[in-house]
Amino acid sequence: MRVMAQMGMVMNLDKCIGCHTCSVTCKQAWTNRAGVEYVWFNNVETRPGQGYPRRYEDQEKWKGGWELNKRGRLKLKAGGRVKKLFGLFASPLQPELKDYYEPWTYDYKTLVDAPLGDDFPVARPKSLITGKDTKITWSANWDDDLGGTTEMGHLDPIVEKVRRESEDKIKLEFEQTFMFYLPRICEHCLNPSCMASCPSGAIYKRVEDGIVLVDQDKCRGWRQCMTGCPYKKIYFNHKTGKAEKCTFCYPRIEVGLPTVCSETCVGRLRYLGLFLYDADAVTAAASVTDPQDLYQAQMDVLLDPHDPAVIAAAREQGIQEDWIDAAQKSPVYALTKVYNVALPLHPEYRTMPMVWYIPPLSPVVDLLRDQGHDAEDPDVLFGAIDALRIPVEYLAELFTAGDVDRVTLVLRKLAAMRAYMRGISLGNEPDESIPASVGMDGATMYEMYRLMAIAKYSERYVIPKAHAEQAHDLEEMGCSLDFDGGPGMGAMGSSPFGEASGRPTPVAVETFHALQDRQTSDSVAGADTLSGRVNLLNWDGNGAPPGLFPQRHPTEPPADVAALEGGGGA
């Protein structure tokens, strides 16, 4: 057993309102540069819908992910190593810009500059690729909220598949359609096919937290990763000629902050935390024969962080105590393995994705409500989950490689939770038969409710900080990271020998710490000191924080720092 830690995410799809805030904030943070105009590390798709890039789930066309060869061993669906090298000169299966969309802006200047005339000036769309006038025909979410579904709904690869396999047709007439949103980022897979496809070996998985990154210096632009990733979450920067992908906001994660998409999520539906997993078991788990067994195999790779044997093995691998502790408190572990409600997206791609989804009950509930039923009554709901084959089959194709029973079980749990809690909030005696009907007890169901419905910030995000001592070579990690949040701990990085002693605190870390402090404290931001200096980026202009002006006696720590340290600081 080789225990490794993996940062994971769970999204509770019932809460997604499709507002795209996550996409926009992510784009502002990471891809608002030339060359990646068309790139959305985080995108939100309406399902049924074609997704972004168009029909990326059609692996018969794109050949992403893994498959089993005749001997039952894993091989890249797009071909083995030799075949890949022969295809190097023109990547045969790479999506083109038109599969994403041609990014554009508007010629806003004419609105101001246009000469006086009878007509209102118009800001024409201009392509960001050619700079010429363009006609907007597609975008990252053109079919948002089922726009155009009557014409294009059948192009959804999942709809196609379910239709092929089921007797009755998925109805896509507008008024009968079910709908939900699917936010997607890179899955930071345990068995990433992007990495396996990269001829240069530039894509790597971080040992410490499992985040999958592209080494920008080693990438040579061979573009095989774009083919390799079945989720199409690797993008080509057409200006730099390098591949780029979601970074899981690693600079934020390293200091204990949630990713930008999680932090800004309006529905507060994202959970972040650690998994412990057995790295030696991954390949075997990804190679099980029946795709419908992949879910269970993937669950078995995840280890119980409370198991003493696991803890001992983790320690042996050098995983620190606070990380083990965080793994035990991990909300993503609870949702996947304790409550068993989170499912992986497309396990049949065999990449072992680590962003999990709690499937939405809302398509079922909405349909019931539209038909005039009481959508909260457990009997009605249970009956409907079984009767409404289409949404359930669709969800099964997304999350369990078509295993309808597995999805049904999860939906039943969600329905049961709804019914159980309704009884409680109406002041009735808790009806213990409801949790029992889905194999849970009342207390567990209540905990699950707390995590899923109340979803407090500190319970949604359990992110252990990176260990500075591991990163002694890392320039950006030069400072002490013993900073536990809250205004009382403002003495971050102040050293006993005054400002200039010790190592300089790198700007990135300092800024992130100050940001965290500002977001979690009640006092005026910037009231804390940063190595006896002040970080003007985070100063909100109120008053003159200590450290704004140089100390008179640089050998003495600032008065407030001394006081805070006396009060039981770091």
């Binding site: 810009l97 396996a196 998985k205 210096d217 080693k218 632009g221 061979w222 990163a471 320039e475």
Partner: protein, 248 residues
């Protein structure tokens, strides 16, 4: 003059090539890329690029046979002069024409596809001129070798001995000087190509990912390893120049 061309220039070229490669490898890893334009246009690229690249690989193999393997060796294994030349001409012209055809498709595509043309830098344009010139002169030599054969002088008696003599640091200048004009031109342009090589996008050829055949599929890397960011050289801005900045 001959000493300068065939005794000095090759070494200058060699120093620039190796020095340039080392320098760029150390200071411009980030700029070291194919800078593929497949995202913009894929149809023509999928035809032109493999023809060009595979043609080029055959051309390189041909050069190896022609330049490195002495005449005496092929004769020793019983290959007659005529047979050798027939082979060389056949394979060489197929490879050469393929390479030329490939690059013509690629250049046509580069000129005609708006976004691809806009992503073409001056550096690229210069590189294309030299590259195409090298290929055309190369084809000319292939043809010329047939006719020069009639005079009893082949490049295997002139260019090849000179090429091999370069490596033992005693350049056989006289041999090279005796070669026909086509060979002189091809060699000069070829040297120019290798001289600019490290400074163009052609560098990607030197990191052809053959180690892919042997590395494990999954790459783990510790956060502290490789995290020391090397200082940028200031050798070029990131990627191609922005259209907006170019206009300004």
């Amino acid at each position: 003059m001959n000493i300068l061309l065939w005794g000095v220039l090759p070494y200058v070229m060699f120093v620039v090539l190796v020095g340039g490669l080392i320098w760029r490898y150390r200071y411009d890893q980030f700029g070291w890329t194919t800078r593929s334009s497949q995202l913009y246009e894929s149809r023509l690229l999928r035809i032109g690029s493999p023809i060009f690249h595979f043609g080029l690989l055959a051309v390189i193999a041909g050069h190896f046979f022609g330049l490195v393997i002495p005449k005496s060796w092929t004769e020793a294994v019983g290959m007659s002069e005529g047979l050798y030349h027939f082979n060389a001409l056949l394979v060489g012209s197929i490879a050469g024409v393929g390479t030329l055809g490939g690059i013509i498709i690629l250049i046509y595509r580069r000129r005609k596809t708006g976004p691809v043309f806009m992503a073409t830098t001056n550096n690229d344009k210069l590189m294309y001129v030299v590259l195409v010139a090298a290929i055309i002169f190369g084809l000319w030599t292939t043809v010329a070798s047939v006719f020069s054969n009639t005079h009893g002088i082949t490049y295997r008696d002139t260019v090849s001995p000179w090429f091999r003599s370069l490596f033992i640091l005693q350049p056989d200048i006289a041999a090279m000087a005796a070669a026909p004009l086509a060979f002189h031109m091809h060699t000069l342009v070829g040297m120019a190509l290798f001289t600019i090589w490290p400074f163009t996008r052609l560098v990607h050829a030197f990191t052809a990912p053959l180690h892919y055949l042997f590395r494990p599929y999954i790459v783990y890397r510790s956060r502290d390893k490789g995290a020391s960011v090397p200082a940028r050289s200031g050798w070029s801005e990131v990627g191609t120049r922005d259209r907006d900045t170019r206009k300004r």
